[in-house]
Amino acid sequence: MKFSDFVATDAIRSDVEAGTKPAVIREMAEALVEAGRLPAGELEGIVKAIMKREDLGSTGIGRGVAVPHTKHPSVDRLVGTVAVSRKGIDFESLDGEPVHLFFLLVSPPDRPGDHLRALENISRQLRDDTFCRRLKASTTPADIEHLLEEADSHGVVT
């Protein structure tokens, strides 16, 4: 699976204002609503579901990356977005590092395989130091969009 299969480019944020875990999750979910990818009426329910998932164990997966996510019946296909925090946000990650890179995913309840393959793609790209560094250094949503396109097509060039 590629980034372009699930990332809503209009909802990409290169400099989130949020300074806390609940706030960044809300900011990203709102971006998906604004981009028309999540129904506005479901925003509260989706944010709550993502936070509930975080209560089970942080989705901060290390290397300054977090993948907050939930299943929700309001989507019929996997939808996600990307955000970068300049200052970093405490996400209770396994390695204790503040999180700068966020991938938020909302998937239909009956498609666990798609969710797994999106996680695979995200984690495979993030193992690449160059990708991580360039994503962190992105200053506009367009930068991030181009980087994702590059990763989709042939991997990231140093």
Binding site: L56, I61, K71, L94
Partner: protein
Amino acid sequence: MTAQETISREVVVGIEQGLHARPADLLAREARKWQSRIELVADRQRADGKSILDLLTLAAEAGTRLVVEATGPDAREAVEAIGRLFDRNFSEPNSHV
């Protein structure tokens, strides 16, 4: 017993949702308790058992067979402990997470 003993055992992903973020997190947390180098080996790739990021690249769906491989002074205990996580299905037989 030598300090570099390698122990392995096969496990099967029983979780309906596959080895997603939460079980990967639990696995990495368990693996980090041990000194040994721990790897999860799939058909075509190996993942560092102590890295969630690495484990997620396996995209191991329900039914996938993996080999837990540990090398080091506590390899046997480490493989047993990780094997138990799989045997117990990461305590989430019908995950809706």
